[in-house]
């Protein structure tokens, strides 16, 4: 992970390192399991609508709260909708929103982190304080504040969650840039008369890419956590769209009546997704720091 290589030798050395990293990852069983589970949900998100046994939107009041059976594998909810179909199709909203939010956070955070680390001084000091203030609020609460003001929509959700996590990423990237700033290749670029944006994005950024990748994978997991929580609170994905957090919020009231399947299956779906992303992130971090 130490990037002391000169810019000339860098590209081929980097490619070799990348191949080695992927090989190392594939030897880790928990990485393979995590990837398999994630791929399953991505597949569900892509083609779920076409393969599910029932229409996830179709209500059937005569058949409400039916327990799991051959006809309805995960039972039906209070409106008689098929829980299995809703769980499969529900993967789409949470995966799309979380990936976009993590992507936005990475983009924003990497830029802010580069600026903080490269310029240092007052700019760094001021942005560090802002980062600390934003991070003092749990992302769910920060998002709740903004979503109340803006009104819930999927786009707002992406922007708000992305903004909340960008500051955590900025701090990590900043630390990585600080160790790069003193390197010879940066001094050489300065002597050549390169402009600051080029040095930041063209010279330093390629050398902190491993840090950025780890941050992105970790943030995907955190974004799933936040988006699911916000949907559960009614500020995320809006009904009647099938969504796991929303399904739990709609149905935990009937738990005491014995209808456990309406809430448990979406809860397990969230758990499997969060854990799989965590396993991937944890292994990527381990492989890149080897």
């Amino acid at each position: 992970m130490t990037a002391t290589s000169t810019p000339l030798a860098a590209p081929s050395a980097r490619r070799a390192r990348r191949v080695a990293t992927v090989r190392a990852l594939l030897r880790r069983p928990s990485f393979v399991i995590g990837t398999a589970v994630l791929c399953f949900w991505v597949l569900c998100a892509l083609v779920g609508q076409a393969i599910v046994p029932d229409d996830p939107y179709a209500t059937d009041p005569a058949n409400a709260l039916a327990s799991p059976s051959g006809a309805h594998w995960f039972g039906t909810d209070a409106l008689g909708r098929d829980v299995f179909s809703r769980v499969v199709v529900g993967s789409r909203a949470i995966l799309t929103i979380s990936l976009l939010a993590a992507g936005l956070a990475t983009l924003l955070g990497t830029t802010i982190g580069l600026v903080m680390g490269y310029f240092g001084g007052l700019v760094d000091e001021a942005l560090s304080r802002v980062a600390e203030a934003v991070m003092a609020l749990p992302s769910v609460i920060l998002a709740l504040l903004a979503l109340t003001a803006l009104g819930p929509s999927n786009l707002t959700l992406v922007v708000v969650v992305g903004f909340a996590y960008s500051w955590v990423i900025a701090r990590t990237v900043r630390a990585a840039v600080l160790t790069e700033r003193g390197a010879e290749y940066v001094a050489a670029a300065r002597v050549r008369g390169e402009r600051s944006p080029y040095i930041m994005f063209g010279e330093i950024l390629p050398n902190v890419v491993p840090v950025v990748i780890v941050e992105f994978t970790v943030r995907v997991g955190m974004a799933v956590f936040s988006v699911a929580s916000l949907s559960f609170l009614g500020f995320g994905v809006q009904p009647p769209s099938p969504d796991w957090g929303l399904q739990i919020a709609d149905s935990y009231g009937v738990l005491s009546a014995g209808a456990w399947w309406t809430a448990l299956f979406p809860a397990l779906a969230i758990a499997s997704l969060v854990v799989s992303v965590f396993l991937i992130a944890d292994n990527v971090q381990g492989a890149l720091s080897e």
């Binding site: 203030a133 609020l137 749990p138 769910v140 504040l145 903004a146 803006l150 609170l233 738990l255 758990a271």
Partner: protein, 318 residues
Amino acid sequence: MSRFLIRRAGLGLITLWLLSVIVFLGAQVLPGNPARAILGQDAAPASVAQLNSQLGYDRPLLERYFDWLGGVLTGDFGTSYLYQSSAGDLIATALGNSLKLGLVAVVLVVPLSLAGGVFAALHRGRLADKAVTFGGMIVSVLPEFVTGIVLLLALGIWWPVLPISATAPPGAGPLEELRHLILPALALMAGLFGYIARVARAGTIDVLDADSTRTATVKGLRRREVIRRHVLRNALLPSITVTATQIGYMVGGLVVIERLFNYQGLGLLLFNAAQRKDFPLLQGAVLVVGAIYIVMTLLADVLQAVVNPRVRAQVTSR
């Protein structure tokens, strides 16, 4: 040490002030129009304008900010639209309830996690160790309401040993009240188990491998005695520090857990304020949450500096 304290506290104050700006901007600038938010999209423009001026939203932004900040500094958080009473009083009552829940959670989860960590260390490399480490890690990444739903089903419905509502019926004794708090407290802090157990496990292994422990064992002290005297003392401090750092994050879980178990704490108040667009209450509650986090991190940092002088040097020379 005093230089470190002053610098750290000063930075904390600046962060607090910035937090107030963020909270104010988040609540007041983004919508542009609180009265529209309260009355809904279909309200007549005249009544929107009237409510806005009634609430003081037609005044300049800076004036409103300093008004609000001045109020907050003197303990006046404004009037809640929703409850038509002092937002500060509502927040104080709710905060008291949340602290009660948090205290029950800490008392339940911290000793359990310490025991788990020591247990894992004593069975290092074996199945028990892996179960504690891996299980703790999984629970620490799950959203609190997922843990909550599973606990609620397992201990409240399938094997009904605990009440599933957080609020005891009126007239119940303190013990009964406590019993109602167990499930939400477990769900709130289950995520901490992994962190604390990991630190306690590492601390225990350090001590078990240290020469002094070997000497003690050779001296003929019984294993349990060694663990009590040496291991616990050394594993305890880092565990306390990690708890203090992580508790700030747990505040985010309050909203979800108090909603799930219908508990009248700060989280539920925040949720109600957000749902009903009660901006004074929402702003106040969010500010309090952030302030708690900043103070907790400050305490954790100071604690860490007391325990480990190297940290102190780093911060002062930065």
